[in-house]
């Protein structure tokens, strides 16, 4: 298997999955339970992604500069600081901690 084949197969798989979602009939979401689940799924997947991106390193859990950076982001979000400022502040926090320690 070449690197190109890996890239193409994985890309087409991801694109097909996106299209598959749009093929689910809209009536599916008219019932309260599926609508609620679909809403909560986006919340659960985002929260899980944040956890993995903050603490994951391959298949290990690591506590490093990312955790205080995300904590700073949470604090700034609570203070209603604009989104882009929050992202930059988080990156700066991690960079600063790594530069100092």
């Amino acid at each position: 298997m070449t690197l190109w084949l890996i890239v193409i197969i994985a890309s087409l798989a991801c694109l097909s999955l996106k299209i598959a979602g749009y093929l689910v009939p809209a009536s599916f979401l008219e019932k309260p339970a599926p609508a609620r689940i679909a809403n909560l799924l986006t919340v659960a997947l985002l929260a899980a992604l944040i956890a993995v991106q903050t603490l994951g390193a391959g298949s290990r859990i690591v506590f490093d500069a990312r955790l205080p950076a995300v904590a700073v982001a949470a604090l700034l979000l609570a203070l209603r600081v604009p989104f882009i400022v929050v992202v930059i502040a988080a990156a700066a926090t991690a960079a600063l901690i790594r530069a100092v320690f």
Binding site: L12, C14, G21, R36, I37, A48, I61
Partner: protein, 260 residues
């Protein structure tokens, strides 16, 4: 562009869902558009780290860019690059599986945002292509169908342009840049997702689901292959949503994107 041609034309159908410069935007419209552009800028910031990591893993510049154009889903791209970095081409099947498993959530997002996007085969194909965490999150946190649509498309186009540009830049300068963690670019991605989730954390039910999902993803990361912990955490939403645990007694206001 002013429409001076008299009489109806096919082109006029659905013109209102793709606002042109001539359409007047309310303050609320402009606010969501600004948010979409800001999300695009944030994604661009960690696009550099993707490009740099991809080249470091052994992909060439073309392969790095084809992934951003065709796959266009950051989590899957980082996962594939991560597996290749540790296992090389021999780990191809695992790399494809990781990318695809992480990509499943975009399919779930598609179910949710399809009613927001509206009808039309080509529009839906374009929408599916750019259905990702960011466009879904901005769209679904808006309160009217119009701002949901604006949020979806502005975010989608901003992220698509920003992500692809900085993937290329990252791939080109990656080796000169050194370790992207020095600049905290890995933390930027997590912070951006937190910013997208934040407006949803208003009701007890969403807070409970988010907390449980984060804990489950963390706990299962050491024992499952990359990509799976995020999906396993999604089961929380199915259980809590199915039984409506922590749900408010009053029926929740249905998202306006869903025709009732």
């Amino acid at each position: 562009m002013a429409r001076t041609e008299p009489g109806p034309s096919d082109d006029d159908q659905g013109r209102e869902v793709a606002p042109t410069a001539a359409t007047t935007w309310s303050g609320e419209d402009r606010a969501v558009a600004r948010k979409g552009v800001a999300v695009g800028l944030a994604a661009a910031a960690y696009g550099i780290s993707y490009g740099a990591l991809a080249v470091a893993a052994g992909l060439d510049v073309w392969q790095t860019c084809v992934m951003s154009l065709l796959m266009f889903t950051g989590g899957s791209q980082f996962a594939l690059v991560g597996v290749i970095a540790t296992g090389g081409v021999a780990a191809g099947p695992a790399a494809i599986a990781s990318a695809a498993i992480l990509g499943i959530r975009n399919g779930i997002y598609g179910i949710r945002v399809a009613p927001i996007v509206g009808a039309g085969r080509w529009r839906r194909l374009a929408a599916a292509w750019v259905t990702i965490d960011e466009s879904t999150a901005v769209a679904t946190t808006q309160s009217t169908l119009r701002t949901q649509r604006i949020g979806f498309w502005v975010t989608a186009v901003s992220v698509f342009v920003g992500w692809n540009l900085t993937s290329l830049i990252g791939a080109l300068i990656g080796n000169a840049l050194g370790d992207v963690r020095t600049y905290g670019l890995d933390a930027a991605a997590a912070a951006a997702f937190l910013g997208l989730l934040w407006p949803r954390l208003r009701q007890l039910q969403t807070i409970a689901v988010a907390t449980a999902a984060a804990v489950i993803a963390t706990v299962t990361t050491p024992v499952l292959i990359p990509g799976l912990p995020v999906l396993v955490a999604g089961i929380v939403a199915v259980i809590v949503g199915g039984f409506n645990w922590f749900g408010s007694r009053n029926p929740q206001p249905e998202p306006p994107g869903i025709p009732t």
